[in-house]
Structures are given as structure tokens and as C-alpha cells.
């Protein structure tokens, strides 16, 4: 099946060893057996709450963390630590915090041009300058700001700088790790539109990681929902919205505050009891069973796998 999709993630595992005693370490299963595919030119949204492992998935795909297990295929080729430097020209990342993802001692031109420098993508200084200015224009930044330092810009503008940096190598695939969460609402819309425009213009593929369901639904063609390191449901955006099946997805969708008073007043909420269990002491079997109203004995015994329920709609649940 490889070769059909741009990015294939198979049984990805990322465990971190955490010190729990004087000599003991316990593995923190941040990502536990995650698999999905992303087609060329499409956007896969990855949602979940804090601690579900979505950021770790993104970083593991780009090999910023060395995966504990599983494989990642890019254009059909297995990604290893040998070919990763070369592949970094095709896979890039946009980070969440516009304040800490830019080096305060570097100018905009330095930051955006760094990928060009590392991969030697120009032959003359003039060429470099032109490329940098071109990228700035692409993301809507003023060319005369190229010599300024990052701290002189607002959050939205910094995020544009980060995006320009990711685009410098002309990648085919970009992992967007909560790129708009730290921005004001009015700026978020600008950046979201920019992502859409860039996708149309440059045919980039996105893995869009966020916790804001409304934003993810807007920009993604397909959505994967994660909980405590596992993917619990994958479906097309509209399908997930109209016909969510996993109990966690149901509760997640009903918890999202809707900016529409009439709908907010009339809808029925499924409020989950209790808190998210600690990932160091994960429940046996299905991780969601401690908060699930449909849980049965089978859920404690064995973790359900993703099974197809309809065209492209996968759910990991024994009971629904």
C-alpha cells in the first residue's frame, strides 16, 4: 500500500522514560501505536486535549524525537536517521509559540534564510536576498522589515516569519503544531486564510495539529481524534461533525463552546466526569474507559483497534 499516500505513519510509538523512584524509571507512553495516512495536497487535522500526544506525533514524524517504535514513510520511502537531513528539505514544521520559536538575536532575514544557508540553496548573496524577500512577500510581510529583529513584531507577524522559514526549502509536507492557538481571534483568521492560500498556490500537504475543534474542522479535509496516545477516531471533517461515533468524540464535540447563543442555549451537553488519568498510570485496555458511559468489561481487558465503519470512517471502540 505504500506509495499511494505522501505520508504514512505505521504503529508509531514514542515512549519517554520518566524518573519515578530513586532507581526506577517508568515509560511515559506519549504516543502508543498510532497509524494514519495523509494524501498529497490534503490537510489532516489532529485534535485532542493536552497530554494526548498530538504534538509528540508531529515531532516524531519529523524525527525531532527518535521514535521508540513504528515506521514513518514519506513518498513511499522509509524515514531513517540516515536520510532525514535530506528529507528535511521536503518536510517542515511551524511551531506554536511565536515568541519562543524565533531566536531573539537573529534578524528576520537571518531566520528565514537559515534553511537556505544550511541546505545551500543559492549560489550568490543576491540570490539569497531575493529568495528571502520573495518568501516575505508570500507571507504578507513588508520587505523593509528584513533587517529588523523578531522581538519588534507582533504575534501574528512572528507567526508569518515562522511560516516563511518553513517554506524556504519549498517543502511538500508541513506539520503545523498549533500554529494559531497563541494568536488573537482576528489575527487567527488572517493566518488560517494564509495557510489555505499557500496550500492552493504551492500544493503543500498539512498535518494540522490543534485543540480548537472549530478551527480544525474549518481547515481540514479529514480529522483524527487522539486520546492519551491513541487515535480513537478518523473520518472526513463533515462526517465527523455530522456522525461522530466514539464516545470521546461525542463528548469533545459537545463540550466545545459554540459562539452562537441560540444553539448554546438549546443544545444538550455531554459533560465528562472526572479528569484525564495520568499517562504514567494509564488504564488497562481502552484508555478512555474510566470516563466512558458505555464501558464494559471487554474495554478493560483489551484495547480496541481502529475499525472501518463506513467510507474512510474509522473508530476504535467495542461498543459504539
Amino acid at each position: 500500500m505504500s506509495g499511494e499516500h505522501l505520508v504514512e505513519v505505521r504503529n508509531l510509538k514514542q515512549y519517554f522514560n520518566v524518573r519515578t523512584g530513586f532507581f526506577r524509571t517508568t515509560p511515559l507512553k506519549a504516543v502508543d501505536d498510532v497509524s494514519f495516512n495523509i494524501g498529497s495536497g490534503e490537510t489532516l487535522g489532529l485534535v485532542g486535549e493536552s497530554g494526548c500526544g498530538k504534538t509528540t506525533v508531529g515531532r516524531s514524524i519529523l524525527r525531532l524525537y527518535e521514535p521508540t517504535g513504528g515506521e514513518v514513510y514519506f513518498e513511499g520511502k522509509l524515514v531513517t536517521s540516515d536520510n532525514i537531513t535530506e528529507l528535511r528539505k521536503s518536510m517542515q514544521m511551524v511551531f506554536q509559540d511565536p515568541y519562543s520559536s524565533l531566536n531573539p538575536r537573529m534578524t528576520v532575514s537571518d531566520i528565514i534564510g537559515e534553511p537556505l544557508d544550511i541546505h545551500r540553496l543559492y549560489t550568490t548573496k543576491k540570490e539569497r536576498k531575493e529568495k528571502v524577500l520573495g518568501l516575505m512577500e508570500l507571507v504578507g510581510l513588508n520587505a523593509e522589515h528584513a533587517t529588523r529583529y523578531a522581538h519588534e513584531f507582533s504575534g501574528g507577524q512572528r507567526q508569518r516569519i515562522g511560516i516563511a522559514r518553513a517554506l524556504a526549502v519549498n517543502p511538500k509536507f508541513i506539520v503545523c503544531d498549533e500554529p494559531v492557538s497563541a494568536l488573537d481571534v482576528s489575527i487567527q483568521a488572517q493566518i488560517i486564510n494564509m495557510f489555505e492560500d499557500l496550500q492552493e498556490k504551492l500544493r503543500v500537504t498539512y498535518l494540522f495539529i490543534a485543540h480548537d475543534l472549530l478551527v480544525v474542522r474549518h481547515i481540514s479535509k479529514r480529522i483524527a481524534v487522539m486520546y492519551l496516545g491513541k487515535v480513537v477516531e478518523i473520518a472526513n471533517s463533515d462526517e465527523l461533525n455530522d456522525n461522530p461515533q466514539h464516545p470521546y468524540t461525542l463528548s469533545l464535540l459537545s463540550s466545545v463552546p459554540i459562539p452562537d447563543p441560540k444553539i448554546a442555549r438549546s443544545r444538550k451537553r455531554i459533560v465528562l466526569e472526572g479528569d484525564v488519568p495520568s499517562p504514567l498510570r494509564m488504564p488497562s485496555g481502552c484508555p478512555f474507559r474510566t470516563r466512558c458511559s458505555y464501558a464494559t468489561e471487554q474495554c478493560a481487558a483489551e484495547c480496541p483497534a481502529l475499525t472501518e465503519r463506513g467510507a474512510g470512517h474509522f473508530v476504535a471502540c467495542w461498543n459504539k
Binding site: R59, L62, L64, T85, R88, K89, Q92, M93, F95, Q96, D97, S100, S101, L102, N103, P104, R105, M106, E114, P115, I118, H119, H145, T147, R148, Y149, H151, E152, G162, R165, A168, V169
Partner: protein
């Protein structure tokens, strides 16, 4: 809150409504509202702040004056630091412990005979040497030792701390435990032990400047190199650990930067200000330590003076000639205070955590 219904009751004239104002505004007009502030780098911003700090500026001026004095004075003052005062070619035994600007009998005769003599600005010491020039040379020694010792501390601490901080993990653990052990060693004891051990080893050395300084001085440098770098190492490591947390380091890796590039371009520029500040504050410690060691007799060898040894020699005649202690002591205080205030000023200007 104005009620829309109220307005028609007043005539539009009284409101002085200019109907032309209700035309749409042009993009030009709107853009005038949006001004980006002047571009400054971190460095320029900090220097500006420093210039507004009165204590720091005074300290810089004082230090500059001291440095100019110690460079220029030996060219003006005709006495040598180990030279016994001689009048008309003959050693003047009466020139002992003269007060500032006082002349000995022989010198007074000499002047009466119509000759000119450079005044003893700080008097003379017990061995008939001009005190002023001795204080000048003492300051030179103290400042240079302070400076070089700080450089040694800086280099060793920087390298050690960088490796420990960047590599992390078990390496960091072990390296920091070594630092802890070194930290707990008593420095005075180590210096004394080392000078005892190194004395026979180093007296074999024949190179000029080292000999004048004396083996004690070498052992001071050795001790600084062995013991005093730990503060810098800890600081550098701490800074690197906190910088590593920043996403721009991760971003650099994502873009394909190798560790060398990350250290060079991303980590070091961000710790430079801290290093400068710490070094500025390290210099007075070094000077003070050297002064103390010279005071207890473990410092530079006679006849080369150092502010500490001068202070020590002044102890004997303290009741009769207090000025001999005052001059070197005040000089030490001025230098140490100046460096401390400059270091504080630098920290206030450049340390981002203190910024509002």
C-alpha cells in the same frame, strides 16, 4: 450615551457636523495611524539603559581615570618602585616614612641648593621608596592579575558549562557532581597547600616575568584555574539549559541545523550578555582574593608591590603612619566598588528577566 432621537432636536449647525467628514477615509490616511517603533537591537537598547544609570557611569569614569593614571604616572614620576630615594646620587637614609608631600632633610637641603625634586605625593615607605609609585605599580599588578584570572575562569567555566549543558543526560550529571565537589573545597587551604607544593617545582623556572611575580603568584593562577571556574560553569550550564527549552532551538533542528551550528548561532549569542556581566563581577573577586593573599604573605614577591602586600606592610607602623594603609586600601575599595557597580549596571540593563 447619546440617544439617536435626541440629536434632531438640536440643529445640525450646533453640532458643527461637517458632512464631508462622513466620506470614506483613504488607505493613505489610515496607514498614517500605523507606525512601527524605531528599530533597536538588544545591544543598543541595553547600552542606552546603561548610560542612564548614574552609578554605573560614575564607576566607568573612575575606572578609566585609574587606568589612565597607572599608565601615565610612571612616565611622569621619576622614581622606581624598588628604588631607594637618593639625593644627588647618594642614598638618603633619612627619607624613611615621610608624610605625603614632606621632604627629608637631605632633600630639603637639595632643594634649598636650587634643584627641583618631584614631590612624594604619598610619602615614602619604611625602606625609603616613593610610596606613590609603589601604589601605582601595586594597582597595575592587582588589576592585571584580577583581569587574567578572570579570563582563565571565563574560558574554563565556559567550555565546561557548555559541554555539560548542551550534552545533558548522564554526562551532565557527572560533570555537575565534580563541580559540587570542587565547590566544597576550602580555597584558602588549597592555595596554601598548592603554594607549598608548587614552590620547589616552580623555582626551577627561569623566565623573566614569572620570576618577578614569584611562585606564589603562579600558584594563585593555578588555584584560580582549578577552583574558581565553577561558578561560571554552573551559570553557563544553567543558561544553556534554559535556552535549550526555547522552541527556536527545536526549530533550528527541524530546519536541518547540526549541533555545531546550533551552539554557534543560536546558543552562544544568547548567553553572551550573561557572560559579560558575570565576568565583570568576577574581576573584583579576583582582585580582592589576590589582595587578601598578598596581605597574608602568599602573594607577589617583594620588591614587586601589590595593593595587598602594601597594606600588609603598613600594618606595622599603623599608629604612627596611618596614611600608608589608607592609600592602598582606598584604591582597592575604589576598584572593587567600581567593578561591582558596573557589573550591577550591566545586569540591570541587559538581563532580560529584570525587564518590565
Amino acid at each position: 450615551m447619546k440617544n439617536v432621537n435626541d440629536l434632531p432636536k438640536k440643529s445640525l449647525m450646533s453640532l458643527q457636523v461637517d458632512l464631508s467628514k462622513f466620506m470614506p477615509a483613504t488607505e493613505e490616511e489610515k496607514r498614517q495611524q500605523d507606525v512601527m517603533s524605531e528599530s533597536t537591537t538588544f545591544f543598543r537598547d541595553g547600552m542606552k539603559k546603561l548610560f542612564h544609570n548614574p552609578l554605573a557611569m560614575i564607576s566607568i569614569v573612575v575606572l578609566l581615570l585609574i587606568i589612565i593614571t597607572i599608565v601615565v604616572a610612571p612616565m611622569i614620576v621619576p622614581y622606581g618602585y624598588s628604588e631607594i630615594i637618593s639625593v644627588g646620587g647618594e642614598r638618603d637614609k633619612g627619607a624613611k616614612n615621610l608624610r605625603p608631600f614632606e621632604w627629608s632633610e637631605a632633600e630639603q637641603e637639595y632643594i634649598a641648593a636650587g634643584n627641583e625634586l618631584f614631590p612624594h605625593i604619598m610619602g615614602t615607605d619604611a625602606l625609603c621608596r616613593d610610596y606613590f609609585i609603589r601604589v601605582i605599580y601595586g594597582t597595575r599588578v592587582s588589576l592585571s592579575i584580577g583581569f587574567f584570572a578572570s579570563i582563565i575562569v571565563l574560558i574554563i567555566g565556559l567550555i565546561y558549562g557548555s559541554i555539560s549543558g548542551y550534552v545533558g543526560g548522564r554526562t551532565d550529571l557527572i560533570m555537575m557532581r565534580i563541580v559540587d565537589i570542587i565547590y566544597s573545597l576550602p580555597d584558602m587551604l588549597m592555595i596554601i597547600l598548592l603554594s607549598v607544593v608548587l614552590d620547589p617545582l616552580l623555582s626551577g623556572l627561569t623566565s623573566g616575568p614569572l620570576q618577578t611575580l614569584g611562585t606564589n603568584m603562579i600558584s594563585i593562577f593555578v588555584v584560580f584555574g582549578l577552583l574558581y571556574w565553577v561558578t561560571m560553569a554552573r551559570l553557563v550550564r544553567g543558561q544553556i539549559l534554559s535556552i535549550k527549552e526555547n522552541e527556536y532551538i527545536l526549530a533550528a533542528r527541524a530546519v536541518g541545523a547540526k549541533p555545531g551550528r546550533i551552539i554557534r548561532k543560536h546558543i552562544i549569542p544568547n548567553i553572551v550578555s550573561i557572560i559579560i556581566i558575570t565576568t565583570a563581577l568576577e574581576i573584583p573577586t579576583a582582585i580582592f582574593t589576590e589582595s587578601f593573599l598578598s596581605f597574608v604573605g602568599l602573594g607577589v614577591q617583594a620588591p614587586m608591590p601589590s595593593l595587598g602586600s602594601l597594606a600588609n606592610a603598613a600594618r606595622e607602623g599603623l599608629n604612627s603612619y596611618p596614611f600608608k594603609l589608607v592609600f592602598p586600601a582606598v584604591t582597592i575599595c575604589l576598584i572593587v566598588l567600581a567593578f561591582n557597580l558596573i557589573g550591577d549596571g550591566l545586569r540591570d540593563s541587559f538581563d532580560p528577566k529584570l525587564r518590565r
